[in-house]
Symmetry: C2
Subunit: 407 residues, 2 copies
Amino acid sequence: MRSLWLLLIPCLSLSLAPFVQTEKGLEFPRYDGNDRVIDINDKNYKKAMKKYSILCLLYHKPIPDGKELQKQHQMTEMVLELAAQVMEEKEIGFGMVDSHEDVKVAKKLGLVEEGSVYVFKGDRVIEFDGLLSADTLVEFLLDLLEEPVEVIGNTLELRAFDRMEEDIRLIGYFKNDESEYYHEFKEAAEQFQPYIRFFATFEKSVAKELTLKMNEVDFYEPFMEEPVTVPDRPNSEEEIVAFVTEHRRPTLRKLRAEDMFETWEDDLEGIHVVAFAEEEDPDGYEFLELLKEVARDNTHHPGLSIIWIDPDDFPLLIPYWEKTFHVDLFKPQIGVVNVTDADSIWLEIDEQDLPTAQELEDWIEDVLSGKVNTEDDDDDNDDDDEDDDDKDDNTSENPKQYFPSFP
Amino acid sequence: MRSLWLLLIPCLSLSLAPFVQTEKGLEFPRYDGNDRVIDINDKNYKKAMKKYSILCLLYHKPIPDGKELQKQHQMTEMVLELAAQVMEEKEIGFGMVDSHEDVKVAKKLGLVEEGSVYVFKGDRVIEFDGLLSADTLVEFLLDLLEEPVEVIGNTLELRAFDRMEEDIRLIGYFKNDESEYYHEFKEAAEQFQPYIRFFATFEKSVAKELTLKMNEVDFYEPFMEEPVTVPDRPNSEEEIVAFVTEHRRPTLRKLRAEDMFETWEDDLEGIHVVAFAEEEDPDGYEFLELLKEVARDNTHHPGLSIIWIDPDDFPLLIPYWEKTFHVDLFKPQIGVVNVTDADSIWLEIDEQDLPTAQELEDWIEDVLSGKVNTEDDDDDNDDDDEDDDDKDDNTSENPKQYFPSFP
């Protein structure tokens, strides 16, 4: 059975729940064995489109030969089956499209990236390129079922909005929910749901706190203190969509399960500046605050895009990252990662004495200028590529470090 | 294969990762097929204890007859195998103890609850009674590897401490890390790691902000603004342990994957007051703030213990909870749940006009006095128990509601 386990286990859970539980109220759902996922083809795709308010199509490579790969494929199917079962009453349908057998359908539906789930909702198509686990997918779909615009009714609710600094979000002030401009705003919101959050208020007091004029829309980049106002209010749907599209890549963003692969693919010239910081840890928090400061000071630099990873969000990847990148993730780290071979180089950080914002900024400038890059150090460490495999255990003995010339 | 899927899927993930990824750097670990989990018995348990700095033993029921149950058991084993593989370099060992075959060993080691993982670290035994998924278990063990006391070095780090209002935490002010009282504090911390967080500072400025005197220890209950000071400083390990043990059940606590079953078992006379609130949602946030206010006002009431569940943390359970409890989890909810049969009764909440703290308090008093209970309404709804099964879909048509007499 072993080959089967290979893919099952990473986030496998609950096996014990049925044994341990005498109490009721925490039973996790289990797949009931009914097939709900449709094998989409030229004949049935229109019917499926009609039948469901939301249809999720996994665009996948042809089912491979070789037992193990086939089992991987089966498991993928099972993720969809469980999601389909859990979401059945919400009228959400699931299907699979084979990238070779169903070329025509794929073309018609605009499916491009193998491995992505394309979600059809009304006249929209939303690509899901995140962690394909039942819970990540279900959470994503539940977010899609919420109103595209959340209304902030009072200043207490506004605090909830203030706390979402990790997310790209927009907020507009409108007369009421009949306002044509609110309608335009809502239409724009639907284009980005659930990745970008849209809020509105009809309350003068709330608008005042946000210094929003009537029919004005502010765009908040993650971790930035000051929003950018969408110009030329009142704005049409098209204006808002264009503005968001232009401004959506942030200077600093957090890696999220729901779009982690998409984010990773969105590299700049093959590299990512990656920062590991555990927000729950005092050092990690302090380092993150530094990083935000640097990001704020350099937000107008088009070439700067930093990915912050909170190791707590991906516990199973921690040992993998420590091996691959030769870093100790019990403390904050920042480095440059080459996404083609995962070769990387890291700033040496003294936990007791974190770098200053200026030192961090200088290092980042060296990265952007190419003075710091992942190749220079490869002579003193030829086994980079082997290091990526699980057998390597000299994480601590053989760290890759770079010593920037600090002022 | 279906019966096998039953347990695999809930949190199954990554099946697609190998297909989608052209970039490197986000590869999740897969079980390599090597057996690492030890079948513990009378002969080998001492050796295993010696060999590993940390040993995790799953105390389980005898392997059942019946294919499906056996496969469930295999899957449980696989969760441990992957955790063992991922944690191998950290010198953490894993084993299984059969509650019938290995009665003797279980007695010697003090294993009691079937389905729990007992973690042996030095002379300590820590029970893990949370979600048995590889990532929850690995995160738990990584927390165990950190220092039992985190040192707060400056006021910026103190802000990280301030943000942890969800957690029970203690903080002490000591001369330096050689102080004998710091040593006592550290010994106490080890008794509660990783469930209860211990912090210390040697900085006068930090102590001043916390109004801590030298060798003084403050205990913070979750969501309470003011800490309680452990009496009679300087305190011995025993004094601190006794104090924490006495004060550890909070008035309001958040359900966490790492101890969700333990928390659920910790009911008061068979019931839980359960509040659902999505912190990321403005209404949920507003309701949560209300709830905290009520909890603060009633923290001295020994009979009051509220469990807050953020649905975002358990997406797969949302549809299950909506069916079982007949509530709409897109909006905040508070109710009483009978843990023996999951029968429940919920306060009717108008999303546009949330109850006041006073109204919430009155309702909670009615619960504590028994005036609100899960039985009274059962006449108008005889199929409670059937409602628990997945076929039931009249969530919205047939909600259970209670109309408290508000002032």
